[in-house]
Assembly symmetry: D2
Homo-oligomer: 140 residues x 4
Amino acid sequence: MKEFDFELEMKVRDYECDIQGIVNNANYQHYLEHCRHRFLNTAQLDFAGLHNEGIDAVVIRAELDYKFPLRPNDDFLVRLKMGRQGRLRMIFDQEIVRKEDEKLIVKACITGVLTKNGRPVSPDILMEKFNRIGIEFPEV
Amino acid sequence: MKEFDFELEMKVRDYECDIQGIVNNANYQHYLEHCRHRFLNTAQLDFAGLHNEGIDAVVIRAELDYKFPLRPNDDFLVRLKMGRQGRLRMIFDQEIVRKEDEKLIVKACITGVLTKNGRPVSPDILMEKFNRIGIEFPEV
Amino acid sequence: MKEFDFELEMKVRDYECDIQGIVNNANYQHYLEHCRHRFLNTAQLDFAGLHNEGIDAVVIRAELDYKFPLRPNDDFLVRLKMGRQGRLRMIFDQEIVRKEDEKLIVKACITGVLTKNGRPVSPDILMEKFNRIGIEFPEV
Amino acid sequence: MKEFDFELEMKVRDYECDIQGIVNNANYQHYLEHCRHRFLNTAQLDFAGLHNEGIDAVVIRAELDYKFPLRPNDDFLVRLKMGRQGRLRMIFDQEIVRKEDEKLIVKACITGVLTKNGRPVSPDILMEKFNRIGIEFPEV
């Protein structure tokens, strides 16, 4: 069974739903992003703080499989597992499941890189912070 | 050279940009969706009208390659080419380019299906409307 | 001292912040709306469910005083007190405060009405549900 | 008759509509903001550029009267007239009307101030740029 590095509980807000009465597709990217940024927080890192130091986490590819829609007031869990690919890429395996029954809502694979002053740099500076709190990132 | 079925010009709005000063990743999905929905309009179809008849266009998979970010006030073009896959799937090849220099911003492949009262149906009802205005959808 | 009928704790998400590094003005309306809708839930009511019965809660006026901005990761509280005005109007006195120090962020007064199949109706149908759980709405 | 300083044509995007099938209240603030920022552009000013110089335009109060909802694909016009109040305040009288019949959708009064490195400054630096292109701001 896959083991996740981080899990965040969230709840659908009505304004995130569109004419079809279900969460709009783009908002799942917001949920996934919020989960990744909160994961950074666990290692005393934060997106805005990194940006102010000239370091930006940038998504270069997103694959999302929409399995089942979330509806108003649904409680859900956003999970992630982080890995490395080559020298520069961070791979986030993510999933969103409905809380009450673990029904799979979205499965996603997000590829990110770090840039410093606009140029790609090794994600080691992030990795070290996570290693300190006992999280390792396998090559994937 | 790939030929597109539809092209829409848009402009970045400041509120679509985040702390990094660039368009937030989720908003590109909004741009791509808006382009698909406007494409429906060219065949006298519309997303809200279809929904009221019980017909929903649903995205089941999205692949997005983020090549270069859009910035405040950038003018850009969103393009699509539509194809079919098997009996049920509609495939939208999409790209976003910066208007001034055709710089590639996002390349996307969106897979959708039609549902009627919640059950998958053939997209023929849409296809026929497009055929009437001279647009054909190749098997991909 | 003003006593509130309902309070909701929330946290700023990075994508809600704009180029200035603070929460975009429009998002405070989202926070205030989410609080009102969650308040409905406490009386076994919900916005989407009401809509499906032809009953829509509609905002007709919003006054917002922006006192101080929220920043990434800030925890905050959204509060509301509900009253009536005349035969048709519901008045929501709302405020957003930063959690750590009760710093006032936004003060808002939102006026809403109920419509049934598009025509204004008395909010009594909502009020009764709240009365049952011990919440009364003073004339304001 | 009131004369406006600026008018911007826009079109409703489906994702801006919520469960009720109409544009979500918060999005009108986005429309109004986009109109104000585009107005800045007419005087060779821009929101992001100002921010990079340490100058931020900040909304301190918004009053919005929601008269009639916009629906999917509606074309609409956003207008503004700018005035001054006292030494520091800029007042934006704004309205949104449906294009086809000038039906009033939203009437708004937005109060803003300029800050430089976080402290309020006179809006004269903006005003001068507008004066150069023949736009004057009356005391209101």
